[in-house]
């Protein structure tokens, strides 16, 4: 079973602060990590490999420092990592086309796994878009998958419904956070990851003249101004003060 996992390096959104004079989010100097749900995708790939053997290739389109993050994925259990550096201008179209070309270059695959969305921009486009580009079937929002030799059966979380879907291979699957608990690699695995192949593929070798279809023309910060009044001493007193304040604010019923 050959599995490709698409993983994105994101900034940790919980660390974002807003520059009050420019009203823009400050994105520099923030912890970068692999988007949580993409780790669930890799964990699922590892579980499938444990049962069916095969190879797991991780692809990331990102900045050069994403190599360090890809090493974490190799330590978890991916066999090979590929970094495609961001071109100067990119959007979802550019990124999904680069992933598509990389997938074609890899050639053999049965399952492509992605997170349902990345935790920074949370658009969830990339998975189904790649499936559309490749014209293969797609199973989105999978909360459990059961991989058999010639087909996969997945339970999809559609909110008010659960849909059980079966597909032959190749198939693209996007997973939700509930599907599993990503493993933490051991020290041995972390050290071992250094010997696994981590390649960088040049954009021009994949696709030439790729232009974005959409442009981000502005990013406006949304600051959340809250009173942050915390009562922490005598409990009865705290409750009393809270209720008085809520009454004053006119929000009690």
């Amino acid at each position: 079973m050959n599995i490709i996992v698409c993983a994105k390096q994101v900034v940790d959104a919980s660390e974002i602060k807003i520059n009050s004079s420019s009203n823009k989010p400050i994105l520099e100097g923030i912890t970068k990590k692999i988007s949580d749900i993409d780790k669930n995708a890799l964990e699922e790939a590892i579980k499938i490999k444990e049962k069916h053997n095969g190879k797991i290739t991780v692809i990331t389109v990102g900045t050069a420092d994403a190599k360090e993050r890809i090493k974490e994925l190799l330590a978890m259990g991916a066999d090979e990592g590929i970094l495609i550096p961001y071109p100067n201008k990119y959007d979802y179209h550019v990124v999904s086309t680069l992933l598509l070309e990389a997938i074609k270059k890899i050639g053999e695959y049965d399952i492509i796994l992605c997170g349902e969305a990345s935790t920074d921009l949370f658009s969830g486009q990339i998975g189904p878009k790649i499936a559309g580009l490749l014209d293969i079937s797609q199973i989105t929002y999978a909360q459990s998958v059961n991989v058999e030799k010639d087909k996969v059966i997945a339970e999809r979380n559609m909110g008010e419904k659960t849909v059980i879907t079966e597909s032959s291979y190749p198939v693209l699957i996007t997973v939700t956070k509930e599907i599993n608990e990503p493993r933490l690699p051991s020290l041995m695995e972390i050290l071992g990851a250094a010997n696994k192949p981590l390649k960088e593929w040049d954009i021009d070798s994949l696709s030439v003249g790729l232009e974005p279809k959409t442009d981000i023309i502005d990013l406006k910060g949304v600051s959340m101004d809250r009173k942050n009044i915390v009562f922490e001493n005598n409990l009865d007193e705290s409750v009393g003060k809270l209720v008085d304040n809520l009454e004053k604010d006119g929000v009690l019923g």
């Binding site: 909110g159 849909v163 059980i164 956070k177 929000v251």
Partner: protein
């Protein structure tokens, strides 16, 4: 030309309002798309809510599958020469729009909360970075595919005097290599957190499912009477149905009062409730992130705080 589609009727009406306005600004017409059985009643209703025309793509397909629906849309777009596609941003709509964007090699922006023309280009706004920013994006290409979240736009007033053409066509699709084995309706408790005025919300601080009654009792004395929850309670522990789930991949709420009890305040949860009027946090950990997003906080064990708070509010209100 603007094509409008959602498998949810209410969302379609909201899309028709914005879609017909956008069509006017672009100097052309809007077409509502119905996929499924021939349905003149629904078609006329869409016209009375603002659609200039309706296209009924007749198909025998019974359940939504993105592969087949994307193929239908691709054929309808070719047939009707549309280049601006508005799709309702529910789970089906998002995977449909993204797949369609792949098939058409088109730009796509999901979860738009605003759409307008700027420099004659279709311009959108959407919430990113868990609510910390709004991205303003612009299409520089056609076709343009957009998905619009629910409750962003108000439907137009129904006007039965509006006239429009209804075109019907049978659309054949290739059989996709996936098949639906079973559809299970999730157990819901018919709560609507999105419309609630006051929400008491529960997180991992609750030790047992039965203890949720402490939150219920507080909700009962408040007139809101609605309880919500964070991701673990609905998705992992399944102590509450998913219609209670508030957060980035759950529901987005804006009550006038939001009381978060035993919720640590992960950014994904904050993204779902940050537009609330007054936010109260109850948590025993003084360093819990939730206090940073709250107007008032009580540091304390919810098992002690909730009964006292319920009693105090009852006294105040009687």
């Amino acid at each position: 030309m603007v094509l409008i589609y959602s498998d949810n009727k209410k969302l379609t009406l909201e899309l028709l309002s914005k879609g017909s306005e956008l069509a006017k600004d672009l100097g052309n017409k809007s077409t509502a798309l119905i996929i499924g059985k021939n349905d003149d009643v629904l078609a006329n209703e869409y016209i009375s809510y603002g659609a200039d025309n309706v296209f009924i793509a007749e198909t025998d397909i019974k359940s939504f599958k993105a592969e087949e629906y994307a193929e239908i849309l691709e054929k309808v777009i070719k047939e009707t020469d549309k280049n601006t596609i508005l799709i309702g941003s529910n789970k089906n709509g998002k995977e449909l729009a993204s797949r369609l964007a792949g098939k058409l090699n088109a730009g796509c922006i999901v979860d738009c909360t605003n759409i307008y023309l700027k420099d004659n280009k279709i311009t959108t706004e959407r919430v990113v970075y868990s609510g910390n920013a709004i991205a303003v994006e612009q299409f520089n290409s056609k076709p343009s595919i957009l998905t619009i979240s629910s409750k962003v736009f108000e439907p137009l007033k129904k006007d039965v005097n509006r006239k429009g053409d209804i075109v019907k066509k049978k659309i054949e699709t290739e059989k996709s290599s996936s098949k639906i084995l079973k559809i299970k309706e999730a157990v819901t408790e018919d709560v609507n957190v999105e419309d609630a005025d006051i929400i008491v919300s529960c997180g991992r601080g609750f030790k047992n499912k039965e203890d949720i009654k402490l939150a219920n009792e507080l909700a009962d004395v408040l007139k809101g009477k609605t309880i919500g929850c964070s991701r673990p309670i609905a998705a992992d522990l399944k102590w509450m149905s998913e219609d209670h789930w508030i957060g980035l991949s759950g529901h987005k709420v804006k009550p006038k009062l939001y009381i978060a009890t035993g919720i640590s305040g992960q950014i994904q949860h904050i993204a779902g409730m940050r537009d609330s009027g007054v936010i109260v946090a109850i948590n025993k950990d003084p360093d819990a992130l939730i206090f940073k997003s709250a107007d008032y906080g009580i540091v304390g064990d919810l098992y002690e705080v909730l009964p006292k708070l319920t009693l105090a509010i009852k006294d105040k209100m009687s």
